[in-house]
């Protein structure tokens, strides 16, 4: 087992979690009142963990860089949340959700964790409905479902195109209830700048009050990191502007192993890049692939004419269009998993069939869905022989009800009407499957430091299925951590309050100050954004949708060089002891400049293609990913040793006892 013990309980897969819950230690209610827990990040994972831990009786302190917990980026999730409820009676079960998730992740996730996730999924929906989350319903009053990529059942619950918002507001409400009771103290506009270890255990954090600039010490008996993903290492991504890796990276530097950093999800349906000043990319929910058909022109000359504005997409008839996903993957069609859909779009655009000015876009077309829904609506409305105009109008109404806010968002950004002309989309960085390595209890390699949600690596392997991020965040926070953290804390009931006057806190605070002052004393050649954009270009061009050994080696060298340049020449205006957004950004980009190199190093060492990690050297003659289970069926967990180039690899071998390893096929 080596240094990495996954602590997966023994016994049959379906009984592991129940058995584990029965066997782990509990903390009695009186003792919980004497135990402090720090939760960093207040998205779905952090917010749900904080609310539940406080409800159990622990004293919880939450930290978020936003001005309110309600603004965490979970809020931007659109399409839905999976749960094995089988309300549709279409053959769903926890096992099938488990199977789909393992397969979707291209056999690089841990069986026991994923099964637990599938097992808890139904519970989440019950919980959220009880909390007043207004999921979409049918006319009979029952909950509605939709389909997502990579599966053959309808198990996705949704609240229009704002599912993440509604689930997060549910967590936020649960937190508010505990804040009102005095069980949670929330520190908003605060950023964690270091993790403090005492006797090898996580015992607190150093945080900066982003309003006053004050550096603060906070202690606790355990620290939960739920700080999201690191997609912003690419500069342009669908993440929020403030999303960052700092908390996870600081923990990594203190001893938490970082697992599979190269596993990044490039989401197929985002609004294409429009210009040089673009600051972020906007996702169009995967749910659109339920009804939208993806295509490019069949003939190169048509693609060229469209690019030059001489031809409109609506002028091309069916036979002149290449619905390439339907052609290549007839079984799943437009609903193949994200990694497959993204690579297929890139393949067509690289071959010259792209349809926007830069040649980096494909069409997502709702015309046939509009007509199909329109005919159905005409029937149910008693219109016997509707003309085409009526059908179209009725169909547009149905589409508006389903995706109205997404269509509106598209129109505001792109300035064209997606009801009349097909949307243009292109893949963009969206989610990171990699993250801090955790065991079955969600504990990192630092005792007392837990990691939940997107920030950990555990459940999605090399590719995450749509509508599974929300599920994981809430399962971790509501139903997993409250048990497993109690087991750890049961040994801490006699510890008493942790003093922030301990030398460990003093040393950590001094380190944080020194780092911030160093950032403020750069030579002032270039802004933080200058470096961030440069890093993003390296990452996108050399560690993006397709990677090869040569490019990755170059990326490693270039990032190391850029990092040295940054520390020498960055310009951060303003002072330490006042609000200073440039200083905040500088700290985050400094960490991205380290993570980016480890990312490339991880991608270089993994000589196979799996999920979102596509190495050009390892593909089938048809251009599909070629996995190497003989040599790479493991989690790559990196130990910090100074420079990223010195990071040491530890392997957690993955065991598949319940699922047979297969080549993933969506044909």
């Amino acid at each position: 087992m080596g240094i990495l013990d996954s602590k997966v309980p023994s016994g049959p897969l379906a009984e592991k979690w129940t058995k584990h819950k029965n066997e782990i230690h509990l903390v009695n209610p009186a003792n919980k009142r004497n135990i402090d827990i720090i939760v960093v990040g207040t998205g779905l994972a952090g917010g749900s963990a904080a609310a539940t831990l406080a409800e159990l009786g622990y004293n919880v302190k939450t930290f978020c860089y936003q001005d309110s917990p309600r603004r965490a980026h979970s809020i931007a999730a659109q399409g839905g949340i999976n749960a094995a409820k089988n309300y549709q009676g279409d053959g769903d079960s926890p096992y099938r959700l488990f199977y789909d998730t393992i397969k979707g992740g291209d056999y690089r996730s841990r069986e026991a964790n994923v099964y637990r996730l599938a097992e808890e999924s139904a519970n989440i929906i019950d919980q959220c409905v009880a909390q007043g989350v207004p999921f979409a319903r049918e006319y009979g009053g029952m909950l509605d479902n939709r389909s997502f990529g990579g599966v053959l059942v309808s198990r996705t619950f949704y609240a229009k195109g704002q599912t993440g918002q509604q689930l997060l507001l549910g967590c936020y409400a649960a937190m508010n209830r505990q804040i009102n009771r005095g069980k949670i103290k929330s520190y908003n506009r605060h950023e964690m700048l270091d993790l403090v270890l005492v006797d090898g255990k996580a015992r607190g954090i150093i945080a900066r009050d982003l309003v006053t600039g004050e550096i603060e010490r906070h202690s606790g008996h355990a620290v939960v990191l739920a700080t999201g993903g690191y997609g912003n290492v690419f500069f342009l991504s669908t993440n929020a502007m403030g999303s960052n890796v700092m908390a996870a990276w600081r923990a990594h530097r203190r001893g938490a192993f970082f697992a599979n950093p190269c596993f990044t999800q490039i989401h197929p349906t985002c609004i294409p890049v429009s210009g040089e000043h673009q600051s972020k990319l906007t996702l169009m929910s995967e749910s659109l692939r339920n009804d939208g058909r993806i295509w490019v022109p069949k003939r190169l000359e048509d693609a060229e004419a469209i690019r030059e504005g001489k031809l409109k997409p609506t002028q091309l008839v069916e036979e002149e269009r290449d619905y390439y996903l339907e052609r290549r993957y007839p079984a799943f069609g437009n609903l193949v998993p994200r990694d497959v859909a993204s690579r297929a779009a890139k393949e067509r655009c690289d071959a010259g069939f792209g349809v926007n000015k830069t040649g980096e876009a494909v069409f997502l077309d709702f015309a046939s869905a509009i007509m199909r829904y329109g005919r159905e609506k005409a029937m149910t409305s008693g219109i016997k022989e509707p003309d085409e105009h009526t059908v179209r109008e009725l169909g547009e109404e149905v589409i508006e009800e389903k995706y109205g806010n997404l269509f509106q968002m598209y129109e505001k950004i792109v300035d064209t009407n997606p009801y009349k002309t097909p949307m243009m989309i292109y893949p963009a960085v969206h989610y990171t499957m990699g993250g801090l390595w955790v065991d079955y209890n969600l504990q990192t390699t630092i005792p007392g430091c837990y990691c939940a949600g997107e920030a950990n690596f555990s459940d999605h392997g090399a590719n995450r299925l749509g509508a599974s991020a929300l599920m994981q965040g809430l399962a971790d926070g509501y139903f997993v951590l409250p048990y497993t953290i109690g087991d750890y804390l049961s040994y801490d009931i006699r510890t008493g309050k942790i003093s922030t006057d301990l030398p460990e806190f003093e040393v950590a605070e001094a380190g944080v100050r020194e780092r911030l002052e160093k950032l403020l004393s750069g030579k002032g050649e270039h802004s933080v954004d200058y470096y961030h954009k440069k890093l993003g270009k390296i990452m996108w061009n050399k560690c993006g949708m397709a990677r090869n050994a040569g490019d990755l080696q170059e990326a490693i060298d270039e990032i190391a060089e850029l990092r040295a340049d940054f520390w020498e020449n960055v310009r951060v205006p303003g002072v330490l002891d006042n609000m200073n957004q440039e200083l905040e950004k500088a700290g985050r980009v400094a960490d991205f400049l380290e993570l980016g190199e480890l990312f490339a190093k991880d991608a270089l060492h993994r000589n196979e293609s799996c999920g979102g990690h596509f190495r050009e050297e390892y593909q089938t003659p048809e251009g599909e990913a070629l996995r190497d289970d003989m040599n790479f069926k493991y989690v790559a967990a990196w130990e910090y040793k100074g420079e990223p180039k010195d990071a040491v690899l530890h392997k957690e071998e993955l065991k598949y006892e319940n699922i047979e390893l297969k080549t993933r096929s969506y044909k």
């Binding site: 409800e55 936003q66 007043g132 996702l283 609000m579 957004q581």
Partner: protein
């Protein structure tokens, strides 16, 4: 595009602020309003001046972080969008654009264009929740059927992003639209009915304590709301409040 920006600059909460003029050029219609401010900040930074601090995060109109009073309107001239989704194609070459923070006693300025909206959090903490434990052992999600119309209406109210545009638009700086959206969401659902009376009393009390003004039904909040939250919610909250307070 060439533009003149008139921007509110204020060092911190204790300092006095003032409007400062900034000419800017090379602005493209496809840029978002905040990307235009990014360009300005890069220029200021290059000149060794202090960049303008403003709140923003998701930049896709859902987190509610961005604010800004643009030419006197919260989130600017376009309808049904937040500032981050406002695009420069809504302006024309030569325009002067006045950019201020949201103004309200209950939203004190922290720095430049950034205000403190924690009063909104405290209103939610006073009762914006259903008192159910999060341990997951509740009834099956389909055990209580909910009328689709009620569920849809609850959803419409629940889409409030808590940005504060309603307060900034109101001549009384009232938070009625914000508060009523949450009161309505839960009042419309069977799960929320149980403690509806306590909820509305507590949230309204907190709203008043925070120093928000009263509602005089001008409807400016609804017009400026980037999510189209309806005035009907205020009417519903008034009914709920009346019923809760007269029952004693």
């Amino acid at each position: 595009m060439k533009l003149t920006l008139k921007i509110w600059r204020q060092k911190d909460a204790a300092s006095k602020g003032q409007m400062v003029d900034y000419p800017i050029s090379g602005i493209d219609g496809d840029m978002s309003f905040l990307e235009m401010l990014d360009v300005l900040n890069e220029e200021l930074n290059n000149k060794g001046e202090q960049p303008v601090e403003f709140d923003h995060d998701c930049r896709e109109g859902i987190c509610g972080t961005c604010s800004l009073q643009i030419n006197g309107e919260p989130h600017g001239p376009d309808r049904m969008v937040t500032t981050c989704q406002l695009h420069m194609r809504k302006f024309i070459d030569g325009d002067t654009i006045v950019i201020e923070p949201f103004r309200a006693t209950a939203f004190p300025v922290i720095k430049d264009l950034i205000v403190d909206r924690s009063s909104f959090d405290r209103i939610q903490q006073a009762g914006g929740y259903i008192s159910v434990n999060t341990s997951g052992h509740t009834v099956d999600a389909n055990a209580i059927p909910i009328d689709k119309h009620d569920a849809d209406e609850a959803m419409d109210a629940a889409t409030c992003i808590g940005c504060g545009a309603c307060v900034a638009a109101c001549k009384n700086a009232s938070a009625m639209l914000f508060t009523s959206a949450k009161v309505s969401q839960f009042a419309l659902l069977p799960q929320g009915r149980v403690e509806a009376e306590d909820r509305v009393r507590n949230m309204v009390r907190q709203m008043d304590l925070e120093g928000f003004g009263n509602c005089t039904n001008t409807g400016a909040c609804e017009v400026e709301c980037p999510k189209g939250i309806s005035l009907d919610n205020i009417a519903r909250m008034n009914r709920e409040y009346l019923s809760a307070t007269t029952k004693g």
